[in-house]
Symmetry: C3
Subunit: 333 residues, 3 copies
């Protein structure tokens, strides 16, 4: 495993399995001194709840320490464009700020969401890779434009915890939201499920097909693992025999950055809210997953989140253990 | 003691005495490894200085770690209403956010001030209890609508430090402030002093009587401890023979949430600022307490805060030791 | 060394040399338990990146802990004026807030930039000294109106790392910036270089001469160390034979607080941007220093920051080690 973990696809299936096993080991057999003296630097260009808390908690549970930097909030806004004359709001460039922060710690974790304007750039994760290129030391992606590997690992462990077998049907379903959200989680979820060998169905309304590059990468992963990846807008077909419904909100790749068109399109999609009646043709033990945060009664009905199908709290808790595994793997001598 | 410490009234007199003794023990005989590996999660829905610093410092002095979450500032705003369609500013519901945070740590501390609209709901601490109900693990109230038990414990220890005897007169006095402040501190202070067995006098202008439920609970505590609780708007009568003047700003319960009426009422109350001439009939060694923050020359004159009566710094410092005692008590195996 | 480190000038040359040597020792031979159980309280009245990260990281590398307070952001705004009636935005006075915070930790670090209105008050560091006067315990200046001793120590160590000899020419050059910045860094840099025994040249356009008190103090330090301090607006003369160009932006002392006049003056100074052609008459191994953050292509051209002269990253990294030395020196029994 390289010292930069930018994408779940950077890891082989064996590496993922190893990290999930390590996560379970750390959960069952604490190692409170494993990372004694090690320091995690956290940079959040965007809001966070789970990641902010679980990375600090996880580092502390391994005996290490953390600091948190929130550009624009207690610290300077950071410029990322090359060659620009910096006479605007940004007082510092990432070419200084990030290597300096990296030099104060043993590993950096950075969250930087999609700009949401240029689909090609966001799918290529150009901005994040530009940041990564100036960081010579270990780096963990805490959600970039197109990848959220920490979520993918937590989801994989959750499926293991639930004994959801390889080959079972995993439905990634688009759900409604007041605005266009980034593609990092759905892109990672489809890849994760494909790599785990599921029969993956991406269920989404017209206009919300995931980018071709994302689907191709997932299909390649599926091929290696004996899984498959298909897509449909037919909910009944998608849910038939499903073991997992994984809901996620995302903006239309077709109308990327075109807020007006997408708002109009979404106005007719309020039915894309997960309710109990979605599950008629699913397996009776079909579970519901979501990475959180989730808007109740917009994306998902109360009856699901408060019902017995939901494993969202376990899923969020697994962020702690799988991130500890990543930190342990990258930092333990 | 239950694993949720929501109100000073949840503790028996013996439990309070035990915690204050434990606080003194930790102050005199450090236990730098007592909570090694333990993690405190801190959630601040409202500003904090003493609590924010002293909880982290206290946890560190016991060998543990902390993380801080500030909803709406670096993390999502959290919705607390049940059944609501979440299409507004809040991206996450407390029913997900709080149990997830609880699952990352050994104990949560939450601050969430009064909404200040519905007096009955605030006196019943309905919102805070709704939050507490979704947290299965230890929880410490860092100030809710009606309770600030951490302040109450620090105040009790301060009275012990000063050797203020049971039975002596403790005056809780309303003081002026530019706006209506919550009832948590006065409600806790009157209860604390009653439970410690003082002759408690609540001194306040007309319109600022504490809610009946608060006074009744304090009178019941006084009964068990040999103390008493009365109220008056007559300053000379209240201060006669007083050993302690405990000043606090609070909004009018009579005009709760009615800002216009209260502002008009308060306009005539600028004389409710503690000055040296208040103490003419008090004991010569009468001390001045305030939980801080305090607005100088509005609530309290410089001459008091800079004079020898004031014990506000010692009182604030006791937050550290008593909170350490609470954390130690709830987390030490 | 006193327990308050407010200014590099509070330290003798021997004390600086000792701290820089200690910094090197801690860099080469980690002492991960030196400050076990010790707590650093950090108060940032102004933004920070390097200081915020490196103080926390440094404390953790010595086995200690930190907490961060940002007045006005998650905590109350703090009033500092004496005798004021506090009916405005500030809910707490520094006379309460700072001693309370100090009582929760073993050492405080405070950043509080210049008000930028009254040059005499800022050069005298009146506001910072008022804060320091209410703190009975160790205090480290993390940048005040006129002093940034942590930067000075890091710069000294950087010059040691580079083997820049005593007596060599050190040019502190004013550079352009969209607005008037404080004097703390240039005042500290000129003092540091003088105390290290350099031939110091302050290069600045008309209107930007450093205050007489700053220059006098530096000249006195130079006298003791065999160095010199001169000033000029002639770039070619200044750079001739230079070993170091240390660039910094600062507001005009002549037009202090007069934004309109200064903006007009600065409009003609866009040429004060460090470029490779500045170095024609300098030594071929002349290095470029800057304390960061820096606005690329305003203060300094990309070609310098991305070229081989620049040591800005090493300089920033030295903040970590020299601050660790200060903490170690003040707190290690």
């Amino acid at each position: 495993m390289k010292s930069h973990l930018l994408d779940l696809a950077d890891l082989s299936r064996d590496e993922v399995v190893h990290l999930v096993q390590l996560a379970r080991r750390l959960q069952d057999h604490p190692e409170p001194h494993a990372l004694a003296g090690k320091i995690l630097g956290l940079v959040f260009f965007n809001p966070s709840l789970r990641t902010l808390a679980s990375t600090q908690a996880g580092m502390a549970k391994l005996g290490g320490s953390s600091f948190v930097i929130t550009p624009g909030q207690g610290t300077w806004q950071l410029e990322s464009r090359l060659g620009v004359t910096m006479n605007g709001a940004c007082a510092e460039h990432i070419r200084e700020g990030l290597p300096v922060l990296a030099s104060f710690c043993d590993i950096l974790g950075i969250r930087s969401f999609a700009a949401g304007i240029d689909l090609t750039a966001d799918v290529a994760d150009s901005d994040y890779k530009a940041m990564a290129s100036v960081i010579p030391s270990p780096l963990v992606n805490l959600e970039s434009a197109i990848a959220h590997p920490m979520q993918g690992l937590a989801d994989w462990k959750t499926l293991d915890d639930l004994n959801v077998p390889q080959g079972s049907r995993f439905v990634l379903s688009w759900v409604n939201h007041p605005r266009a959200l980034p593609l990092a989680v759905p892109a990672t979820a489809v890849h994760m499920a494909a790599l785990r060998g599921h029969e993956v169905v991406v269920l989404r309304p017209d206009g919300y097909a995931l980018p071709a590059a994302v689907m191709e990468k997932a299909r390649y992963a599926a091929q290696l693992s004996g899984g498959s990846v298909t897509e449909t807008s037919d909910r009944n077909m998608a849910l038939a025999g499903a073991s997992i419904v994984y809901a996620k909100e995302w903006g239309s790749p077709e109308h990327y950055g075109d807020s007006a068109t997408e708002t109009a399109l979404r106005a007719g999609l309020s039915d894309w809210q997960v309710r109990e009646d979605w599950f008629t043709s699913a397996r009776s033990d079909c579970r519901f997953m979501h990475c959180l945060p989730v808007r109740r009664n917009v994306a998902v009905a109360d009856e699901i989140l408060d019902g017995s199908r939901s494993v969202v709290l376990q899923e969020a808790n697994n962020r702690l253990w799988t991130q500890m595994a990543v930190l342990h793997h990258l930092l333990k001598p």
